[in-house]
């Protein structure tokens, strides 16, 4: 594949300063509501703050790619006396857990850097983190061109993984016959 120059957007997370307010979760879910700002539900947020207060763990994690299968082996990390399991830092919407899935449908969610709704502005979670835990950074990198799946395709892929291709096709056919609004 060809090499292209690409603007990489990234968010640096200074987790030591996180105070657990969850403002990032709130605004992410509010911003991505349809219509925009019409509802809030932190469970739909593409950033989730992992909390274990008594061990002093306050860790915002972003939703990444959907994965159909969980990892084979899983370990634990001990950093600075605090114990984390592998999954803590993982961005995947993964069958091993509920994180990064729509609470009602179970469909995977993924951070889009707020591109889809409002391209060009700093991500909303960054804007709403007044404690400067989330720092927005842009850099240019040479990367291989890749074909990206859009949101519907990712959602469908996860349904295919869960129910099988044929079942999904059957259901869609059935629903369209009933005149259901997809």
């Amino acid at each position: 594949m060809a090499k292209i120059k690409k603007k990489i957007k990234s968010i640096k997370v200074n987790a030591d300063k996180c105070n657990g307010c969850r403002s990032c979760e709130i605004i992410c879910s509010n911003f991505h509501a349809t219509p925009k700002y019409s509802s809030i539900n932190p469970a739909r947020s593409r950033i989730q703050v992992i909390l274990d207060p008594m061990t002093d763990i306050w860790l915002p994690v972003f939703a990444g790619e959907y994965t159909p299968a969980e990892c084979m082996g899983r370990g634990k990390y001990v950093i600075d006396g605090k114990e984390y399991d592998d999954c803590t830092f993982c961005r995947a919407s993964c069958p091993a857990r509920d994180r990064f899935k729509e609470p009602d449908s179970g469909l995977p969610i993924k951070c889009d850097m707020c591109e889809e709704n409002d391209p060009g502005q700093p991500p909303l979670c960054v804007q709403w983190c007044y404690n400067e835990v989330l720092i927005y950074e842009e850099r240019e990198e040479e990367v291989e061109e890749e074909v990206r799946l859009d949101e519907i395709e990712i959602g469908l892929e996860s349904l295919v993984d869960k129910y099988g291709f044929q079942k999904l096709v059957d259901s869609i056919a059935r629903m369209s016959q009933k005149g259901s609004s997809l």
Partner: protein, 656 residues
């Protein structure tokens, strides 16, 4: 579709185990909003005024505020409402943290408990699944240690937990409801929870909350956010550091405690330690505090960080905020802060109010020193100050020996002990321990806030008006220049003319008329916060807050879709406020109860104080007993209240 609120109450009958999700009447929201306002209405409608705190008919309501869970910053208060065992009035201890928002995401605006459970239980609310679960294995457990156990048991790390400790289980009148970082501490909510046999209420919610006009709402919120940033970057000049910022008192961050240690008479409020804050103390306290604080933490959706995770030497970790940082050391006359972190950790596990409890322990020590309590009462008590406080705390939360009497608070304990103990109950209003102020000159604004508000906790005395006049005209001019929070520009003149000495100074200035206006406004802001679920540190309890009388209604209307303007909002909270007063009047509250503790100020002015009450009552539309007049009640669509008061002969037709 309901907006901002969920439109559902959760009704739980603890005696039968019946659980119901009940759709609420939208009209009630229009009349009373949510939080405190709505709860007061529920009490008026459903709980006969003869009801005592520990009667099964007493309700225990855990309520969110109307805007909790929305993106508006700092709307996170849980308003617990119940009849207080201590004051025997309708009380509403509040807490920040995360519980209220989680409840809304679970699909409920409030949980209403009635009757008592036959055995100790905890409630698990997970969206539509609500269970009453056995809690016998949690009996006696601390409010912090229970958290990890419940999270494991339920396999849900994201639950919010409100729990009582040993004190609540034993119906100690100062028992709190603890939520990890925050607590509903005042007036014995934890005792009622314990009486109803509820160890904890655990919530997890993953549902949506709707906003009527989201884009518009978020614009208003962003403006508030800009102001929060501005205030955080520009502390106010001319006031003490502790008053210069926004949020709850930043006790975890500030280390300079000269003011709080020397100007209050901690202990049981008799002596002030004027030369307490030496260089040596400053150094030792500051370093202890810094060593103890592991991380600053905030409440749900708030950029401030008033709380902290405490990790000190071998003390098990816990979270803390506000003045519990120093109340125990000061009350025990122990000069190091280490003692405070140690005993506060135990007190938090037990679940007791960090304001009242140290005063009660100090009260016992004073009675002992005065020979009113004897060696027999103190049998087994270590002789040193620290040991004595720890021992007393253990007795109180277990209601053992003298602890059983002390557990009712200083007012009731003094009367049970007798032998002159009543004279040592000199820091209560309406039977509740107050901030141990001991200042020189009576302050007319404080006097009214203290005496007349139904909140009866420390937050009631402070408002948006500065605590003291500024020394120079230039400073005053500077302060009023940028003061958009005022309800009207003419208030500025009151402030400009207010001087530290001379004719225009305390106690005769501000005049009773001016005081009435100022206090009425400050109280209104408190009532708005308590209905909407805003932390008072971002509204009613600090100087120049981000939320004020000119922007609340914009948030309320765009969030709910209700057509409410500034005047409309004022009327709604005024309605609930008068309903609350009327309910407490039915419970026996009268003018004679509206008196700050005798020795709060060295110089008192009995005549002026009566005049202040007269003027303020009149301003509020109350008669000279502090009872809302018929005219006032009708104006607020409270005809049914007027009828009730007349039927009972409390209001007499024609004479108000």
């Amino acid at each position: 579709m309901r907006c901002a609120e969920t439109g559902y109450n959760l009704e739980i009958d603890l005696a039968t185990g019946n659980i119901e999700k009940v759709e609420t009447d939208p009209k009630l929201t229009e009349l009373h909003l949510g939080g405190l306002g709505y709860n007061v209405k529920l009490f008026w409608d459903r709980v006969p005024p003869e009801t005592k705190a520990f009667d099964p008919e007493n309700l225990l309501i855990f309520s969110s505020g109307l805007l909790c869970g929305t993106p508006a910053f700092s709307f996170n208060r849980t308003c617990v409402t119940t009849i207080s065992p201590q004051t025997e009035l309708l009380a509403y201890p509040m807490m920040g943290g995360f519980w209220a928002a989680e409840l809304k995401y679970a699909g409920y605006d409030r949980v209403i408990f009635r009757n008592k459970s036959p055995k100790l239980v905890y409630i698990y609310i997970n969206n539509d699944k609500v269970e009453i679960r056995d809690a016998s294995h949690l009996k006696g457990m601390g409010t912090v240690e229970i958290r990890d156990i419940l999270k494991k048991e339920l396999n849900e790390p994201k639950v919010s937990i409100a729990a009582i400790g040993l004190a609540g289980e034993n119906r100690v009148f100062t028992a709190s409801i603890e939520q990890g970082r925050s607590s509903a501490s005042r007036l014995g909510g934890g005792a009622v929870m314990g009486d109803k046999n509820i160890k904890a209420v655990v919530v997890r919610g993953t549902k949506d909350i709707n906003l009527a006009r989201g884009e518009e709402f978020i614009k208003h919120v962003n403006k508030v956010g800009e102001y929060i940033k501005f205030r955080n970057e520009n502390p106010l000049k001319g006031v003490m550091t502790i008053l210069s910022g926004i949020g709850s008192p930043q006790e975890m961050k500030h280390t300079d405690e000269k003011w709080h240690t020397e100007n209050f008479s901690w202990g049981n409020a008799r002596t002030r330690r004027r030369d307490f804050w030496t260089d040596e103390i400053n150094q030792s306290w500051s370093s202890t505090q810094r060593a103890a604080i592991k991380r600053y933490i905030s409440c749900f959706n708030c950029p401030q960080q008033c709380g902290a995770l405490i990790s000190y030497k071998d003390v098990p970790r816990f979270k803390q905020k506000c003045f519990t940082k120093l109340t125990y050391s000061m009350a025990a006359y122990v000069d190091n802060l280490e003692f405070n972190f140690r005993i506060a950790q135990r007190a938090t596990e037990y679940g007791v109010d960090g304001f009242s409890t140290p005063q009660i322990l100090a009260f016992a020590v004073e009675l002992y020193e005065a020979g009113i309590l004897t060696d027999k009462d103190f049998e087994g008590c270590p002789p040193d100050k620290e040991g004595r406080f720890n021992w007393l705390l253990d007795r109180v939360v277990r209601r053992e020996g003298i602890g059983d009497i002390l557990a009712d608070g200083t007012y009731w304990a003094a009367r049970r002990i007798g032998k002159g103990a009543e004279a040592f109950d000199h820091n209560t209003i309406k039977k509740h321990e107050q901030l141990p102020l001991k200042l020189g000159m009576m302050d007319p604004l404080y006097f009214l806030m203290y005496s007349t508000n139904e909140k009866i906790s420390i937050t009631q005395i402070e408002g948006n008006w500065p605590q003291a006049p500024f020394p120079t005209k230039e400073m005053r001019e500077e302060f009023v220049k940028d003061w958009p929070q005022l309800p009207d520009d003419h208030f500025k003149q009151y402030f400009l003319d207010w001087e530290p000495r001379g004719e225009n100074s305390n106690p005769y200035y501000p005049t009773p008329d001016m005081c009435s206006e100022i206090v009425d406004w400050m109280e209104e802001i408190h009532n708005i916060d308590d209905a909407l679920g805003l932390c008072c540190g971002m509204g009613s309890f600090c100087l120049k807050p981000p939320y004020h009388t000119h922007n609340y209604h914009l948030l309320v209307s765009s969030a709910t879709g209700l057509d409410i303007d500034q005047v409309g909002l004022k009327k709604i909270v005024n309605r609930s406020r008068n309903l609350h007063r009327a309910y407490n009047v039915l419970k026996g509250m009268r003018r004679a109860d509206e008196k700050p503790p005798q020795d709060h100020w060295k110089k008192r002015f009995p005549e002026l104080e009566e005049q202040l009450l007269d003027t303020y009552y009149k301003y509020k539309g109350w008669n000279m007993e502090g009872i809302p007049t018929k005219e006032k009640l009708l104006e607020l669509d409270l005809d049914y209240v007027a009828e009730d008061l007349e039927r009972r002969g409390i209001l007499k037709d024609g004479q108000n």
